[in-house]
Amino acid sequence: MTSVRFQVAGIMAALSLCTAMSSPVLAQKKYDSGASDTEIKIGNIMPYSGPASAYGAIGKAEEAYFNKVNAEGGINGRKIRFISYDDGYSPPKTVEQARKLVESDGVLLIFGSLGTSTNSAIRPYMNDRKVPQLFVASGASKWNDPKQYPWTMGWQPSYASEARIYAKYIIKEKPDAKIGVLYQNDDFGKDYLKGLKEGLGARTSMIAMEDGYDTSEPAIDEHIVKLKASGADVFISITTPKFAAQAIKKAAEINWHPVHIISNVSASVGGVLEPAGIEISQGILSASYAKDGSDPQWNADDGMKKFYNFVAQYDPKSNKLDAGVVFGYGAAQTMVQVLQMCGDDLTRENVMKQAASLKDFAPDTLLPGIRINTAADNFAPIEQLQMMRFKGRKWELFGDIISSEIGQ
């Protein structure tokens, strides 16, 4: 009996020695809900059904990208578990799904949820709970508000950033311009207009006329006629695809040939410029930040080669021409970068800290020269774009990468 007791004591001593020795190592590994030695749980909410279901391609591409990362060994040895739910683009459902992800599935963070009003609906909850709401898939500028919402961060350039870039371009290339602005009367159009004015700064008076239209209007012909009459020689068309095409057509019809800038949202060759007419669309300007999966000029590009291989191997059912797939790939790559930077400290606080310390990170699908930079007071990861001009049947990039920051 005594010998047994000695043995037990011996084992106990050995065990306590072990824990004592390993505790400094253990102390470095810190986890919040959703992270462990083997796994990182990431939540996501997408409109797989409902009016915006076309964007579901983004969620599928992201899932495929995480599968690729897992197949290649995961992040610091941990596999990603990507839990993606459908909200049908309805904000109350988004709240329900976000709470399910955080409280029931216990995810470490919610990544890349899509939509402006859907993300607005969960933002107070995420910040209350101190759960990261990272790389929101929406172009609203409100995601860059680290003071009030330190747990929410956007990813793509905001509409306001894009507008600031047009302002910079105009000031540089055509300082005596009279600008006519047509904008869609909603969050998209207003964000844009705000950015344009910020970009023009003291020269806001260059705007000769700003004219809003509602999406319920069947045609916007009258607005174009009014803008021409205002004497504007630069026309900024802050429009969604259908109206962008109408504006191009009407301007040609009434023989108005200003410097014509259309928003990136409507820069689709197949969806806007072809229906409007390739002939009359020549010379139209826009800006972009990502490579176009349908553009053969990227076939030899290293980043895009990786992207095409990824699509072939992990997401073969998707359409590589779909901008959503390119988007999902880039966003997921950024997420993986942040998790890698976290090392073994997978707490929610550290995730936000690392997300806010990205330095010159360049995902494969962004235009050469565009880099992701964030800081504690800058929650807008992509702030650069490059101007492009429509020539022949495709967009030609020109000029330098322009940063949207004011005063640069």
Binding site: D86, R99, A121, D187
Partner: protein
Amino acid sequence: MSAAEEVVAEGHQAVAAVPKRGMTLGTGTSLVVLAALLIMPIFVKNFIIFQMTMLLIYGLAVLALNILTGGSGQFSLGQSAFYAVGAYTTAVLMEHFNVNYALTLPIAGVVCFAFGFLFGQPALRLSGVYLALATFALATAMPQLLKLNFLEHWTGGVQGLVVTKPDAPFGLPMSQDMWLYYFTLVVVIAIYIFAVNLLRSRSGRAFMAIRDNEIAASAMGVDVALYKTLAFGVSAAITGIAGSLGAIAVQFVAPDSYTITLAISLFLGMVVGGVGWLPGSIVGAAFIIFVPNIAEGISKGLSGAVFGVLLFLVIYLVPHGARQVAILGQKLAGKLRKN
């Protein structure tokens, strides 16, 4: 009688006559359900409590539609509009005027009653499918109306409004979710009792007389126009209160939240719960909240199709919805008791 009139007359009979006793649960069953609803939050996570709160809220909205369709025989695909008005009334009052959340409920109810009553006036001339179409127009128009420029200062336009979630009062040791659940439960029970009594009252009998045969009801001296608009008003008021509670629970209102999809979901909930059977409203609400989640679990890409199949199965197997299941259950229980 012209062909068109015949169609309209048939439209009325589309709602099967439900005897008023058959509209409610027995006292014993009611108490058991109530006890279950009271105890449940103590054992589950906050997220489930939130889901249960949403269940009660949608249940209330389905109940409102049930009074309109099951009670007075009028169709509505426009309930989302009343729901939106209620939600926005609460959100605007809370965020712009700092009104206490509990006080906004009756205000939303009154506003929606007026709105529903007024909408009921032109709707009087329409019945059956035509009325359904008119209300459909209301539902499609509402999200756009909420985006209007001159309202934007109040409604926040497309960006919507964030609503602050209330804490439990008197320093009660419960989470916000649990407090809101009990608050909602009290409101829902009060309205349920009101609804049951309404349908058993003189007005309720008038509703049902109109539902069963409008001409006969009118011959008996029922003021058809008044009671039809009244039914609309009451239904809108209850839907509005549901909308208010929804805004508080979700903490956010935006035009995208109140699209035609919501109106169709509520209609679906009513059919699945059993038209004219008030307790079925909760079952119907459970269907519209949980079945899409189940469908998504089965197949993400085809969640809509799976949902369709499940819905089809329910309609095919139990065309009268939960009411039919309840009656079957009652018969079974009766047989067991005899044995």
